[in-house]
């Protein structure tokens, strides 16, 4: 130890000096972060747009850092509240994230940029709902604090080959959907893959609830405006237990997470899987054995979905002009088209130029939903911690430890508590 200690101490000292070499860059730099995967439609498109920005400004040093979702969730507000914040970054939408930092005054107000940069000609009010946050950080009204350049929605992925083989056509009503399930069931196939313990479980539940939901219900629900009217959820819970009893969903799905459920779909065991557009990239790249498509779960108006994560400009951004220019690039027809061609959900793609059928379809479906103001958002949004509550109760429902009535009672208790105490 007497000989090794000094040596190790020396190593430690040299290590300390290494650390202090934090780059103090000179001249104009543009720091940009995002956490979408490098191979997602967004990641691919944004990388390309950033190349163009670089080419337009050869005098600027562009530093891009690929962040992780976890990191931004854990320490997003701390980063934004420090001198280490970048000039522009992708930030998770919603009250608990973007809303919080907006209300803390950590972001640049984009009201002026919105009209000055012409973003108002591309985005409609429906696509801005999650860009606006009031003084309390609640979305839906107030100033614009962030801009989303893509959409996302939950739909049913289906195995086209399996549907054709079974002679089933794409359902347009809930009755047709259950009829399709019956056909598969009769052939000994479990038709629906479901991650009961995970996101896809609660998204299916919400999709079913939205079949009985009107504007008033969704507005109240998402806005935490009144005690929960449990009727749509009761219908959803009853339908789900009914599907389970009929064998449309396997009993194993109670403990299944989304990765496993997706695996049931991609391996061809189950012909239908209800989940979000974030699967598009993975499915496009890796499903080689069969053709697949998407259909929206038939609801009168609302679908589970929203605009994507936001581009926000921190208060301390040193290059807000470049940041605005980057957002403009992403909203331009060129990069919206590019995004659709990468399999993403675009707002303003030039349909004639989109050659990727996946992106073309997804963008068209999103437009349909957004145009009728049918984005119902996600079921866990209104109440902090509701995501875990829904997963838990959803699992109880599938296990049979909760009846549909008990299920509704229990989520209503949590919801109403939050509603009353706001």
């Amino acid at each position: 130890m007497t000989t090794t200690l000094p040596r190790l101490a020396l190593a430690a000292v040299s290590a300390l000096t290494l650390m202090s070499s934090a780059a103090l860059a000179q001249g104009t730099t543009f720091n940009i972060w995002w956490f979408e995967g490098a191979e997602s439609a967004q990641g691919l498109t944004w990388t390309k747009a950033l190349e163009e920005l670089k080419a337009n400004h050869p005098d600027v040093t562009v530093n891009f850092e690929q962040k992780t979702f976890d990191q931004m969730q854990q320490s997003g507000s701390m980063i934004l509240n420090s001198a280490e914040a970048p000039d522009i970054l992708e930030y998770n939408k919603g009250n608990a994230t973007a809303g919080l930092v907006a209300s803390q005054g950590l972001l640049t107000n984009l009201d002026e940029a919105f009209t000055a940069e012409g973003w108002d000609k591309i985005l409609n009010e429906g696509q801005l709902v999650l860009s606006r946050y009031d003084e309390l950080g609640v979305y839906g009204s107030g100033s614009i604090w962030g801009i989303s350049t893509y959409g996302e929605y939950v739909s049913a992925y289906y195995n086209i080959d399996a549907f054709e083989k079974a002679g089933v056509k794409v359902p347009t009503t809930l009755e047709e959907l259950t009829a399709a399930f019956d056909v598969f069931k009769a052939q000994g196939v479990t038709p629906l893959a479901l991650g009961g313990a995970s996101t896809s479980g609660q998204h299916l539940l919400a999709s079913l609830a939205y079949t009985k939901a009107d504007d008033n219900w969704v507005n109240n629900y998402q806005g935490l405006k009144a005690p929960l009217d449990g009727a749509p959820y009761l219908y959803a819970a009853q339908t789900l237990t009914d599907w389970l009893a009929k064998g449309y969903i396997t009993k194993d799905s109670t403990g299944m997470n989304d990765d496993d459920a997706a695996l049931q779909f991609t391996s061809g065991q189950s012909p239908v899987y209800v989940s979000g557009t974030w699967n598009l990239g993975n499915f496009s790249a890796n499903i080689k054995d069969f053709k697949w498509g998407q259909f929206v779960i038939p609801t009168p108006k609302f679908s589970v979905g929203s605009t994507g994560n936001l581009w926000v400009i921190p208060k301390g951004s040193k290059s807000p002009e470049l940041a605005r220019e980057f957002i403009s690039l992403l909203l331009s027809t060129k990069y919206q088209t590019e995004q659709a061609n990468n399999g993403g959900v675009s707002f303003g793609a030039d349909a004639a130029q989109v050659t990727n059928p996946v992106g073309a379809n997804a963008s068209a479906v999103f437009k349909q939903i957004a145009d009728k103001q049918g984005l119902g958002f996600y079921p866990d949004w209104p109440v902090p911690g509701f995501y875990d509550v829904l997963n838990q109760k959803d699992t109880g429902l599938l296990q049979g430890t909760l009846t549909p009535e008990q299920f509704v009672d229990e989520i209503k208790t949590v919801y109403d508590d939050a509603q009353a105490s706001q």
Binding site: L18, A22, G37, F69, D70, I79, E84, D260, G281
Partner: protein, 293 residues
Amino acid sequence: MANVGVLTGTPAKVARPHARQRAPMRWVVLGLLLLLLAFTLFPFFLALINAVKPGPDYLRGGPLSIPTSIQFDSIIKFWGQADYSRKLLNSVIISASVSVLAVIISLFNAYALGIGRVRGSTIILAILLLGTMVPQESIVYPIYWMAKSVGLYDTQLAVIIVLAVLQSAFGTYLLSSVMSTFPREILEAAEIDGASRWQVLTLVVVPIMQPTLMVLGTFFFIWTWNEFLIPVIMLISNNNQTVSVAMGLTRGQNMSDPTLQAAAGLLGIAPTVIFFLIFQRTLTRGIVAGAVK
């Protein structure tokens, strides 16, 4: 002759049932150990086969299927995306510095508390032990503010200081209890020879405690290596981040890439395993040394 035959025969007959009894037991134990080994190695095996499995293979057959072909794309992709060489270097720098620093702090503290006579040393130890039980989540925010106000936010130095202090709390407790049983005769002999306190520490205590210190250092290294929350909060720039933070790259908001995750897992455990193999002997020596004395 017959007698001899009987004589030689009986022990053999007596011995045989013994051997027979022992043999099945041995096999049972061996079997159990093999089973245990299989259980232990199974995650490594899973990480390995999925790391080299092509994506479509995974989507067809799931995590347990045997890959139809072997590809290193996931590993190369993760290495590139995460800038893994850099992360490795960072992790080594941080873990080594923390382990050295924490051992030194623990040693000094324990020398005072375990060998020296400090009033209320039991209470101090109890407080230190309580300190190790405080969940990190609850101290993250104060640490963040302190680091920010002294300009150490987003530096590895901040992580090194914080983790060295946190871990030396446990180290102090452990070393103090070991040192309180330190043979007084040796210390007194040294004092009679005219050794100063510093000389007693460096020339008497440290050489005798060396195996224990090495074990402590090894544990500190591995704990720091696996540390996630404080590095993820304190190290913002990708260039400062550690291996455990880089693992997060494989998990997106709604999606994860299983083969990439397996590759990351494999690359993540490899250094700890290698480190363990190198220091395996130190570890056993330290434990044995502790047990005998």
